[in-house]
């Protein structure tokens, strides 16, 4: 990517975020529900309510409110959460890393296991294993993340309780962390006990988020691999003495991976959306479960902050996926 490409992508990203900001800001103020109503005590007088409305600027016009908000955001001030009474930046900064660790672990799980299933299916072409894998994967494809979450709770939380049911880590092993990325930090510090505890807590939510991704990657990649495996260059590769494994991994994979990559980008953004429910089911203290509380409490500044964080993440994912597909396609990098 050249410097001007990068600048135009950045500009487009900022414009997109601005658009997201406009839409979410207006939407939140048009739909029914009143943040003040959620926070007052039953004994509050109408005068109290008016004072509170003025305190949060909710007495002004939507346009005025928007200009003030955008001005603050441009300076890095996302306001204060109404329900939690703390700066939105702080709250997002605490919760987002937990969710990022979760979704990236689920991404790695989904890509690796989906990729392995696709390669195994391609290598077992014309054997009874292939339709069996297809069948199982076809069933998995139909199961959404929250159903996985419930099934996993039953399976590994109740019937055979190997994984902790909730939270990010056991309160007893908590140590002081220098960063909000607990898993990564414990890995870097080689703090095995803490790392295993965190991984144990993440296991079920990661599976719930990662299994749907794995099965859709398995199917898409396998279809593309099968298509590539009948190309003439694979035929010639076989004549040149390449093993099936090398034909799949060395010849077909690089040409087959393009559609899977774009799809993974899209699915990954869906998965980030999936954290909202999955984190709630496992009481995982990420940004997804905070989003639900924010909506229930009609905590406008917090909702806006969370949505912008999601938006930034989506845009970043898009840029990364584009850059990766460019790298993978020699036509674009070297042509």
């Amino acid at each position: 990517m050249t410097a001007s490409d990068f600048l135009s992508r950045l500009l487009a990203a900022l414009l997109t975020l601005f658009g997201v900001g406009v839409v979410i800001f207006c939407l939140l103020r048009v739909v029914p529900g009143d943040p003040i109503a959620m926070m007052i005590s039953p004994s509050a007088t109408p005068a109290d309510i008016t004072a509170l409305r003025a305190h949060y600027g909710l007495d002004r016009s939507i346009f005025e409110q928007f200009v003030i908000w955008i001005g603050d955001v441009a300076q890095g001030d996302f306001g204060r959460s109404i329900s939690l009474k703390r700066p939105v930046v702080e709250l997002v900064g605490e919760r987002l890393p937990a969710s990022l660790e979760l979704v990236f672990a689920a991404l790695i799980f989904g890509v690796v296991s989906g990729g392995l299933i696709a390669v195994a299916g391609t290598l077992s072409r014309k054997t009874p294993v292939e339709p069996l894998l297809d069948l199982i994967n076809g069933l998995f494809l139909a199961v959404p993340d929250f159903i996985w979450a419930l099934a996993l709770v039953l399976l590994f939380g109740v019937l055979w309780p190997v994984f902790p049911l909730s939270g990010r880590m056991d309160p007893s092993v908590s140590t002081d962390f220098a960063t909000p990325f607990y898993l990564i930090e414990s890995m870097i510090r080689l703090n095995l006990a803490v790392m295993l505890d965190i991984l144990g807590h993440m296991a079920m939510p990661v599976l719930a988020l990662g299994l749907p991704l794995a099965s859709i990657i398995a199917r898409t990649l396998k279809e593309a691999l099968n298509e590539a495996m009948v190309q003439d260059y694979v035929l010639l590769g076989r004549l040149k003495g390449m093993s099936e494994m090398r034909l799949v991994l060395g010849e077909a994979l690089r040409n087959a991976v393009g559609p899977t990559l774009s799809l993974t980008g899209v699915q990954f953004t869906f998965m980030i959306g999936g954290t909202v429910i999955v984190e709630r089911i496992f009481s995982f203290p990420g940004i997804g479960s905070m989003a639900i509380d924010a909506v229930i409490n009609r905590d406008l500044p917090l909702i806006q902050g969370i949505i912008l964080a999601f938006g930034t993440l989506f845009i970043a994912i898009n840029i990364i996926v584009d850059a990766l597909s460019n790298r993978l396609n020699p036509r674009q990098t070297h042509g």
Partner: protein, 290 residues
């Protein structure tokens, strides 16, 4: 008489799709260094013969009988280890479409050398040296650039030169060229034809040249096998077949095809009557077989 390099004997093949014969009782013999044209309209079974020899028939086509002997040994019943040694080394392929026959994601040099390394056990340095020697043989002028290029950076003709170099790389005894010029521009076609012929002469290789163009056959083939609907209609030395065709279909094809020696003449379509006779004859042959 020398031992033939390839003899296909009474080969029949069935389509699993509709149970019809794709090849019926096909026999042909190739002497070392001979260039045989395999001619016929689309669907005549040319590629099926080529694929049967190379052992790469699709699962939907089944051999129903016959032998494919390479230097006397039947390939259809050979052990996989024997086949692995023969195919890609003694028998190689120049594919039809240079567009799809090179891996778009890998550089030419890597693709040209990996056969040398895997089939001939060369190390990286000697494979590279041999690749440059081969590129010189197929008249690639800037081998260093081509070696480091991706396929899409080369013209169709250039890619086909690479594939020809790749096919002749292990000094095979038999090269199967399946319509190697069909996907190319007319001007490039002639160069590629000449190149195949020159490489074949230099290496003393027998070639099965699949084409639907009798003009091409007249140019570079020593002998011809003419197929229609999986049946051998006529075969023999090129000059004989073209000067003294015995079968009405052959005569009609010669009249129809472009005459490279006499441009502007011919080009009359094969009369429907000829096809009708041909189908009747084939029907009789097939009922006689059963």
């Amino acid at each position: 008489m020398t031992k033939p390099v390839l003899s296909v004997e009474a080969l029949s093949a069935l389509s699993a799709r509709n149970g019809t014969y794709v090849l019926s009782d096909v026999s042909l013999t190739l002497q070392p260094g001979e260039v045989r044209g395999l001619v016929g309209e689309s669907g005549a079974g040319k590629s099926t013969i080529a694929k049967a020899v190379l052992g790469i028939l699709p699962s939907t086509i089944r051999i129903a009988g016959g032998w494919i002997r390479f230097e006397g040994d039947d390939l259809l019943t050979a052990r996989p280890s024997v086949l692995r040694n023969l195919l890609g080394r003694d028998i190689t392929l120049i594919p039809q479409d240079p567009q799809t026959a090179l891996n778009p994601a890998r550089r030419i040099g890597a693709q040209l050398t990996d056969g040398l390394r895997l089939k001939l056990g060369m190390n990286a340095a000697s494979a590279r040296a041999r690749a440059f020697q081969l590129m010189d043989e197929v008249q690639i002028r800037d081998p260093a650039r081509v070696f480091d290029s991706f396929p899409h950076q080369l013209s169709g003709g250039m890619r086909q030169r690479i594939l020809i170099a790749q096919a002749f790389a292990p000094n095979p005894k038999l090269v199967i060229a399946d319509e190697p010029t069909t996907a190319l521009d007319v001007t490039v076609q002639k160069e590629i034809l000449r190149l195949v012929r020159r490489m074949q002469e230099a290496h003393g290789t027998a070639v099965i040249f699949v084409t639907h163009d009798l003009g091409v056959v007249a140019k570079i083939c020593d002998s011809v096998t003419l197929l229609y609907s999986g049946h051998v209609i006529e075969q023999g030395a090129t000059a004989d077949l073209i000067e003294r065709p015995r079968h009405a279909y052959t005569r009609a094809l010669i009249a129809a095809g472009p005459r490279y020696d006499r441009p502007g003449q011919g080009l009359q379509p094969v009369p429907e009557r000829v096809f009708a006779d041909l189908r009747k004859e084939i029907g009789q042959r097939e009922t006689a077989d059963v």
